[in-house]
Amino acid sequence: MFKLIRVTGQSLEPLYCEGDYVLVSRLYALFGAIRPGDVVVLRHPAYGLMIKLVEQVTVERDEIFVIGLNDWSVDSREFGGIARKDVLGKVIWGITDL
């Protein structure tokens, strides 16, 4: 239901930086459905576990379109939409080293 994940990489800076932690949950009934603007953790068949920002949710195809926060991000602009079943959950709390 809840999972702590460590962030690696820079594509979500300055929101989340290398070494930050996020608490992820699939309890959508409690925390709300996935919407544009949410940050999600997903499992991509080639890239493995990724953390990205949701830009668009396509209900008909049951998939989401994810992006990073910089031009060099590897995301849906490159590999297309992500099936919702591949989403581990949405970030409900970011734990950063202040």
Partner: protein, 166 residues
């Protein structure tokens, strides 16, 4: 405070990592190209020096060779900078910089020596460039748990180069 607690827990439970990918994660990093580039810069300085001594008359052949040596020196000094910039920016992480606090100033030194090597035909900055790149290579291999050795390159300019002991 919370971050420190979670980090300590991570040390015990090893949480999964989610990548915020940038660029293609090919994972292929090697400082060897930077070292070869630095060696090439020294070689070009030597060739420029030899050419100026041998050819007192600045004929077309002289101009052609000199232009080629200078172009290669320019290109390789820049290549050394670029290779180091990529490894420093993409491979080295915060933990590496904490363990090797000299890294940021070393990378900066390499960029400056690369530029100085382009501006001059002096051997000194070129040799310093190679030495700085060699140190960068030593740190790089150390972070991978791979030892290094220093050997003289088996070709001119026969300067010392750091190689990984694989």
């Amino acid at each position: 405070m919370i971050y420190q607690v979670v980090k300590a827990l991570d040390g015990v439970f090893h949480f999964e990592k989610a990548k915020a990918h940038c660029d293609i994660p090919c994972g292929i990093y090697d400082p060897h190209m930077a070292q070869i580039a630095a060696l090439t810069v020294i070689r070009m300085v030597d060739l420029i020096e030899e050419l100026s001594i041998q050819h007192k008359e600045q004929d077309a052949g002289f101009i052609n060779s000199m232009a080629r040596y200078v172009a290669v020196k320019e290109e390789h000094a820049e290549l050394a900078k670029r290779e180091v910039r990529v490894i420093f920016g993409d491979y080295f992480k915060k933990e590496h910089v904490e363990k090797y606090p000299e890294l940021p100033s070393l990378a900066h030194k390499i960029y400056q020596l690369g530029s100085k090597s382009r501006q001059t035909v002096s051997r000194e900055p070129a040799v310093e460039l190679l030495e700085a790149v060699n140190r960068f290579a030593e740190i790089f291999w150390e972070t991978k748990g791979i030892g290094t050795k220093r050997v003289k390159a088996p070709y001119k300019p026969s300067e010392e180069v750091v190689y990984p002991v694989l």
